[in-house]
Symmetry: C2
Subunit: 471 residues, 2 copies
């Protein structure tokens, strides 16, 4: 009898061809022109999952019945699949997404984004790394077991969404409405990456985010700066006063209470970070490219981006921004602001502290309005000692021949918040992408060696996590 690993080695060419099939479907979720492609990709997954032996359907919020078509007007379809043939064994809830980013600027692609092409051991295509290639490592691991070794060491549920790149809420609504159905012992979210080539990583923490807009109004209408300069308030200069009252020249946030609940990473985690192969000079030169790094220089870079809260300004709409000169004192100006949050900071509370502080800073002669906009997600941090985490660390270390490092990420993955917060699941956030995988950029790529080893890694994770039921 062949082992799942032997099955994988014997079928590697076929797995690549199946990935190419999925990559050829231009499932760009943000562009209405691709709505039919979205449905096509979701159906491809359902057919494929049934083909390997899972029960699969196009799921919709509140629907728990058999497969049915999703109405395009309600959002992009969610794919749900399960194999529950191992009663008494633990259950894993796997997650990935089949939607991809737009391809602009198209001219910069060396090979067309939806014609998968191999160069130097990398598979180039939009979605190769984010996230079709990653979700396939999970599906192929299930297939390898189903084809070789039933019952599986674990029961498997899969949730594959089509709105990750749009910030859609379908998956959240579905999770809220299907807590029982999605019940599991742990979750495996395959939408993150490795720390470096050959160095597997688990993302233990994700920062939260709250976004807001500050609008300052001065005069009732735009005024000529010759006629009124010296008498009318200037909303941009008022905003500058507010912004320097929100973050100082050393990038320290000045909102009273902002840092109050911040929990520093525990000494073990911090010490593990310090041992990571991270070169600040390289990071500055190759990734950021500014004259020097910013942030709270008293903290190491990785701690600044993983475990320190921040406040950023993304744009300042208003007034005249065209070519040339228009000497207007604008009636209003705004600042688009976000704050990245760390564990224990409550997004609602932080927003309230922010709002109150901005109002305290209101410059004379102006009105200040503060509005929430878009995101409100708490940070999450996972327990590195849970059985799922222990199993994943060992499985990945064994597969890649390098100790699995425990990292965090500065951004948010909302589904992780739903899995940990709504379902209470220990959640392993991982993946096989690299910092040069060109996610969201031209020439997105996935290292094919990492694709195949990713399948092995998931197989080993299933085996080790399933074994925890025996101990």
């Amino acid at each position: 009898m062949t082992s799942p690993h032997e099955y994988v080695r014997a079928h590697s060419a076929g797995f690549e061809e199946e990935l190419n099939e999925l990559l050829r479907i231009p499932s760009v979720s943000t562009l209405p022109a691709h709505r039919a492609d979205m449905l096509r990709a979701a159906r491809w997954l359902v057919d494929h999952l049934r083909h390997i032996g899972m029960e699969a359907e196009l799921a919709e919020e509140g629907k728990t019945g058999a497969a049915r078509e999703f109405s395009p007007g309600e959002g992009h379809p969610l794919v749900y699949a399960e194999w529950l043939g191992a009663p008494g064994r633990p259950t894993i809830l796997g997650y990935g997404h089949y939607d991809v980013q737009p391809v602009d600027p198209l001219a910069e692609w060396i090979s067309p984004p939806f014609e998968p092409t191999v160069r130097d051991g990398n598979l180039y295509a939009r979605g190769a790394a984010d996230d079709k290639g990653q979700i396939l490592t999970l599906i192929k691991a299930v297939q390898a077991y189903l084809a070789t070794k039933r019952p599986l060491p674990v029961n498997v549920k899969l949730l594959i969404e089509g709105e990750e790149e749009t910030g859609g809420t379908t998956v959240e609504r579905y999770v809220r409405a299907n807590r029982a159905r999605l019940g599991a012992d742990a979750a495996l979210v395959l939408d993150s990456g490795m720390f470096a080539p050959e160095i597997p990583a688990i993302t233990l923490g994700l920062r939260g985010i709250v976004t807001a807009e500050i609008e300052v109004s001065g005069a009732a209408r735009d005024l000529h700066s010759g006629r009124y300069g010296g008498a009318a308030p200037n909303p941009f200069l008022a905003l500058a006063q507010i912004l320097t009252g929100l973050r100082d020249a050393r990038d320290r946030v000045l909102i009273p209470g902002f840092y109050e609940r911040v929990v520093p990473p525990d000494p073990e985690e911090r010490s593990a970070w310090s041992r990571l192969e991270f070169d600040e000079g390289e990071f500055l030169r190759d990734e950021v490219g500014s004259p020097a790094l910013g942030g709270e220089l008293e903290f190491p870079v990785l701690e600044r981006i993983w475990a320190r809260p921040t406040l950023e300004v993304h744009g300042m709409p208003g007034g005249f921004t065209g070519e040339g000169t228009k000497t207007v004192i604008p009636a209003r100006a705004a600042a688009k602001v976000s704050m990245r949050l760390v564990p224990r900071q409550d997004p609602d509370e932080i927003y309230k502290l922010f709002e109150a502080h901005v109002k305290r800073l209101q410059p004379r002669g102006t009105r200040v309005a503060v509005r929430r906009s878009g995101y409100l997600t708490p940070a999450v941090v996972m327990d590195p000692r849970s059985p799922a985490m222990t199993a994943a660390r060992a499985a990945f270390t064994e597969t890649f021949g390098h100790e699995t490092v425990l990292i965090r990420a500065g951004g948010s993955i909302p589904v992780v918040t739903h899995f940990t917060g709504l379902l209470g699941l220990p959640t392993v956030v991982t993946g096989w992408t690299l910092s040069d995988s060109n996610l969201h950029s031209p020439n997105e790529k996935l290292h094919l060696g990492h694709f195949h080893r990713g399948i092995d890694a998931v197989i080993r994770f299933f085996g080790r996590f399933g074994a925890t039921a025996d101990s």
Copy 2:
């Protein structure tokens, strides 16, 4: 023999009809589609000036010969006219412009902008007040003299440009190239307004201006604020630091040396301003509309807008300014800045002080570039005791039955700088518009009573100024 004033009264209906003819030509200088209309308006003026007995031509930079057509590719034509039939008498150089602002938003016009319509004693049309109606009062005054009382008390030269609303440089180049031809004893610039209904005014001073753009660069490309927030510099927050270093919360400019050469208005002028009927509460409510006025509150409002230098921000391009949220740390952001200047401040010196101060303020981790943009005009202030000023004050006071008030304006009229600076002429800046004439806005209007009295006022000014040669 009729007097010029009797001639005016007898021909008032005809004068209005002639103004309507000129107003029907949509001479919008900023829109290429109206280039032919520009030429048509200029030719209408040349024909009309010849018809009343002046020598007139379409003039071009460097050309001093007979009338010739102006090539549209070089800019909008300049109209020059003269009547020099009073040797030994003083010469007046009159100025106005025949180009008008665009009409947007068209839907807000009660009657079509290029179909002059009278309502409640006001003539509504684009250009009625700015500046066709005003320049016609000067032409009709010349006509009234030429038709009734030769030789005139003064020689008259007229320069009527078509680039006032575009900030064009044709008139400056023409003045530089034709100093001898434009030689005069005083200039009369009809492109300003009255202080209030029935209160004639002479604008004794105009602020200067220098405009600049500050660009702050951080990272080499736009970065995701999740992945890089806490490590990458934020150009908008850097700009906020710079801007609060340029102007404080009390609207005081912080550039070292900025106020060094500022000359306060003389006590007589300041005391005259304090006697003007100016209601700060009304100004705040009806004109500005902000919760309170800004500026250096230790100075009276009129002094703040007429005689104090300022620094304003007009817009801050960069980053994400669309609907919704995009959590980008932009690679760069800019601020469009202008400074209004007062007499004795040298625009070049102020720009250098500004640039040096901005560079001193450069936040860590960023590059800062400072560029001049658009305008660089010094302030002007005229001697209220010159013979032309004395003649104008008396003429306007006699005509309107209210003492002529001496005011300043916070904006610039570049041609005044050329007349005073390049030609060394005492320059009377005046006009018959009101603060509610809707210059540059829908429903621009000129009070017809002021149009006719404006003609009388110019006639009296010619008479009184001409008489100075006899004393």
